[in-house]
Amino acid sequence: MSEDPRLTALVDRAGALFRDQALAAVREWKARTGGLAVGFLPIYVPRELLHAQGVLPVGLMGGRPDLEIIKGDAYYQSYICHLPRSTVELGLNGSYDALDGLIFPAICDVIRNLSGMWQMLFPKVLVHYLDVPQNFDPAIGGAFYRRDLESLSQALEARGARALTAAALRQSIALYNENRRLVRELYALRRREPWKVPTHELYVVLRAALLVPVEESTTMFAEYLALASADRSRRPQDQARVLVTGSFCEQPPLALIKTLERAGCYIVDDDFVQVHRFIRSDIPVDGDPLQSIVDALLTDAVASPTRYIADEVKGADLNQRAAESGAEGVLFCAASFCDPALLDQPMAVRAVERTAIPWTAFKYAENNGQFQVIREQAGTFADSIKLWSGA
């Protein structure tokens, strides 16, 4: 809640985009510009490349709890996460008709196999499996990734997108740098004053940004940052500072995020809608811009459970984020049946335990509607943190 009507209006606008499962905003953009729109699944694709070719990158993150799954369940057994079935549902019910293609980043076997299913279900659209390298040597994994990006670029061009030029790519990199900088600032503000940036609000703003051109989302981020930080009606409360991790692909329902906050948690760091923060700093705009995009992935991407961590200690990145955000507890919050998150969790837990920060864990599905158990668990967790920090 805010006493500034401009902030309320902005969050409402973002909320409308977030609820826009049928991509009306994308259709409208296409009608206005005649450009191509290409969807991408979690976690990360180099949106700069698409933008430089005049393509609108559209971030898809599964379905909301109110999406009725009619056909999607017929494609997946009960022991597979929920995101692919809602994605198939939205594809089959026409919600994604505005998309000229879909990019499937290599993060897990489910997304991988979904790319083949998509080729068969929607033979007219471009399907690109972005085989993100797990070798981070520029001459090996970097060279492979560059070739993959070049083939993506050519495939877009074959569909009618502009040819990729270094000048356009530099400009796009600059725009996304600014966009990412604002997201970093929002996260920094939330770390400093979490009451100013409630996560259920920030989350909706980040989701809304997936459907609009970068120029528009940058404006939205900047306005939100200015309005939220200036809002004096938002005052600190006695909440426990927690870091939420494990929700990088299938997203928790918004009501679950609200539940955590109502249960007494300030979320001071998370991995929701991570495409905005997957590359941690600015990508250089000088030099060979395509190589800069490649290098950013090799050297500056977050230590996601979907990436092979070669030499660093597993969980070091998580501990560093916990320290930087001043988290007093860690919530392991993964989608049920999410292999990368759940296989990673024992290692992450061990890492967190080395720092003596308390943690708790639970699972969700994007279509969950009941949060009583989680509310109690998070409430007890937050209470115990407050009790100990006050002691």
Partner: protein, 431 residues
């Protein structure tokens, strides 16, 4: 159901079986002695294994998936999985991983009852599945030994591109081989590697002959349950050895003999005397109730004439052979070509092709909870293959090594209804 199609035979072991048993025993003896002899060992995986390269460095492979399935057959995995879950491993994830971790925590006793050596190297090649990567990240925390990572790209568009091949070869040259040199203190010897690869190709020829013998009616082999034994040596520690060449030659001769005599496959409960149904199977078997599961097929006279599981360690029947003239390129092609690294449309094409080439009555999918790599998309495969082939598909669910997910009564019911349906279809077609 009509007269029992199985004829009990006295427990007779073919000489190839005896040979395989001896090969395995010798391998585990060498592993058990490794800490004393100083022999290096690498833990690595079946799909995309680099056995010839390891052997060229005199490194012995240990395959955790094989240990897990052997543990399941010995009834150990319930306890191992429980131990891993107690340590915080999720009930949702692959049970091979949990079985392996539980086994390690329980003393790392291998399938022959001997202790397995700790790895000198974790050779992480995760063809066709992301879980492998997490698995070795977990093991690395336990063993603190060097890891060599070989990332094998996915054949998303149904083909191997030059870029993929180059990427894998670059990693072999710059990551895997230097790491093997470091761990063993020996130099890469390409001539030795070529010699192993030449032996691989010989054995692969004979294996393909054996698998394709199921085109005969009746089929002399069971290409799913029985094939598990046939692919054993080539999928594990023996590809590229003289032992494997001898084993496959002998096996081929035995199967040729069965064809001459018009005999059906041998099962643990006897010989399938009357082949009633010819089935193509997709998905891995269940290992905790392997014999019981097999018997459910054999009792009905259902013979698997082709399977995809027998291709997880290499799809040789489409023509690929290890090529000693291009040692690293051939290893790259091998890794890229394993079954679960194929796109969904390619898997559908392959199954449809098997149905017609092996004159099958239908196909069955055993969908295992553990394995998203196999399972995510199988319901789509079911519908597509049915539509393309016009042959009925059946769908059952179980798990690899977690006995909690093998519901014998339920699976038996489903199989019986499926076979009944095939019978009715056949009766309808002939009336």
């Amino acid at each position: 159901m009509s007269a029992a199609p199985i004829v009990a035979t006295t427990a007779h072991k073919d000489s190839s079986q005896v040979r395989q048993k001896e090969m395995i025993a010798r391998h585990f003896d060498r592993l058990a002695a490794a800490p004393d002899t100083g022999t290096r060992c690498a833990y690595t995986f079946v799909p995309g294994n680099l056995t010839e390269l390891l052997l060229s460095f005199d490194v012995l492979p240990v395959l955790p998936e094989i240990n897990a399935l052997q543990s399941a057959m010995r009834g150990k995995t319930a306890e191992y999985i429980a131990a891993a879950e107690k340590l915080g491993h999720s009930e949702d994830v692959c049970t091979y991983v949990k079985s392996d971790i539980g086994m390690m925590k329980s003393g790392n006793i291998g399938p022959t009852g001997q202790r397995l050596p700790s790895p000198d190297l974790l050779l992480l090649s995760y063809t066709g599945c992301f879980t492998f990567m997490k698995w070795f990240e977990l093991l690395r925390e336990e063993y603190h030994c060097p890891v060599a990572m070989l990332h094998v790209p996915y054949q998303a568009d149904g083909r191997i591109t030059d870029s993929m091949r180059t990427y894998v070869v670059d990693q072999l040259k710059n990551v895997v081989i230097p790491k093997l040199e470091e761990v063993t203190g020996r130099q890469y010897d390409e001539d030795r590697l070529r010699a192993h690869l030449a032996r691989s190709a010989q054995a692969e020829d004979d294996l393909v002959w054996v698998l394709q013998s199921a085109k005969n009616v009746p089929s002399p082999i069971d290409a799913y349950f029985g094939a598990v034994y046939y692919v054993g040596p080539i999928f594990s520690a023996f590809r590229g050895t003289a032992d494997a060449v001898d084993y496959y030659r002998e096996l081929r001769e035995e199967i040729a003999g069965r064809i001459r005599q018009g005999k059906g496959p041998v099962t643990p409960d006897g010989e399938v005397e009357r082949e009633r149904f010819r089935i193509v199977v997709e998905g891995p078997p269940n290992w905790t109730s392997f014999r019981q599961f097999w018997k459910m097929f054999a009792d009905e006279g259902a013979v698997a004439v082709a399977s995809t599981y027998s291709k997880v360690g290499g799809v040789y029947d489409l023509g690929f052979r290890h090529d000693p003239d291009h040692p690293l390129e051939t290893l790259a092609e091998y890794c890229l070509g394993c079954y679960t690294n194929l796109s969904l449309p390619t898997r559908i094409d392959l199954l449809t092709r098997y149905l017609s080439e092996y004159r099958a009555d239908g196909f069955l999918i055993n969908s295992v909870k553990s394995c998203n790599s196999f399972s995510a998309g199988q319901l789509h495969i079911l519908r597509e293959v049915e539509a393309r082939s016009g042959r009925p598909g059946g769908f059952i669910e179980s798990d690899l090594v977690d006995p909690r997910y093998f519901s014998a009564a339920n699976i038996k019911n489903r199989l019986e209804s499926y076979f009944q349906m095939l019978d009715q279809k056949r009766a309808g077609a002939s009336s």
